[in-house]
Symmetry: C3
Subunit: 157 residues, 3 copies
């Protein structure tokens, strides 16, 4: 039950992931995933109804890199500062070299004028793989409670 | 000072409690308490003024089970998704087999349309008892900062 | 990688700091700092643009004590309950007796009528010094995302 080396490394990686996005280092974002990864954003409504349609779905690291390129060069969207608050981290013991984890998040966005509002609340559902470069996401599913999205969901969560 | 086995188990239990409520597994909720327990929701105003009136007060596990039955079968209230974010967990060392703990929470509710808003912010004040089945709440007091409650406080926090 | 004694003590101190402010024990607040300390509140906008102007700037414990005296005896401001939720705590290994740390926060304020709203979101950037009385802040910089401040920022964050 005391935190193992792996658990501490996984928790640190999750917080680095949040910092990477909040510091707008988008190019580093795909590096938190293995090559053959899955990154999905799904509404809590669809999850609970067993419906498959995702809001965002990338099924390789190359697709994540492509997404970053689109965000940097193609898409236009309102400038915002973001802040991820991660809590309720629960890491399951390893089974056959697979570690699964859950956590909750609030993402607060702040406009250029310094006005903050809750942008998204939800949970992460992760499969984590221990690689020689440390823990990485085999699969990360973002289940958004806040699925009433005003415009485009541009930035990853 | 490094986390003991008990501290880790207590923290895990607190997060399971939050997940139990967020996943709407209400029937499991009383199982986080000992038989002879106390669950209370009180306003921060009353706590600071030393006034005793609670918003919710149950003083046995049977009363918690009754509350669940009422929620499932009798009460009608708006459907919402909830998300508990637990932070600032502080566990005091055991004194005469009693462990006390404090933590802070935000509960975000999301409507059926996917619109999220802060429902309640406050703190938990707990007495924890180590049982053969793991740590359980001897007493859990929810001190709600957000005591300006719009309607009924239906779901437990 | 497992939490060291120092890391656990630093984390506990950060949470005590939050509790000190939330419980309105302002007189205890300067005691979280060394004599020759620095406490600064700066907007995220200025930090990212490399602009130096702070919102609040105190560069000794005496200045913090003076601030508390002003808050207690001179300034008038609306009564609010506050609640600090601290997350994403990242503590760097010690280098030449200096430990640096980062964390994120949400401060929720609640009016006398029990209505809560997000007051400030942002991050802490800390230099921590291990003293015989435990860890203390050599320097604490509050980087506020929420720099569109309605009135006076009276209470420290």
């Amino acid at each position: 039950m005391p935190a193992t080396l792996d658990e501490r490394a996984i928790e640190a990686m999750m917080l680095d992931y949040a910092a990477c996005l909040d510091e707008s280092r988008l190019e580093d974002w795909p590096e938190f995933f293995v090559d053959d990864c899955c990154y999905k954003v799904v509404s809590r409504e669809n999850v609970e109804l067993g419906l498959p349609a995702p809001i965002i779905y990338h099924y390789s690291k190359r697709m994540l890199q492509d997404r970053v390129k689109a965000l940097r060069e193609a898409l236009t969207f309102e400038f915002v500062y973001t802040r991820h608050l991660i809590s309720n981290i629960r890491i399951r013991p390893e089974v056959q070299r697979k570690i699964s984890a859950k956590s909750n998040y609030i993402v607060v966005q702040t406009t250029e004028e310094g006005v903050s509002r809750i942008y998204s609340v939800g949970s992460y559902l992760d499969d984590i793989i221990m690689t020689p470069d440390g823990p990485k996401f085999g699969s990360r599913t973002v289940i958004v409670d806040t699925f009433g999205i005003h415009n485009l969901m541009a930035l990853p969560i």
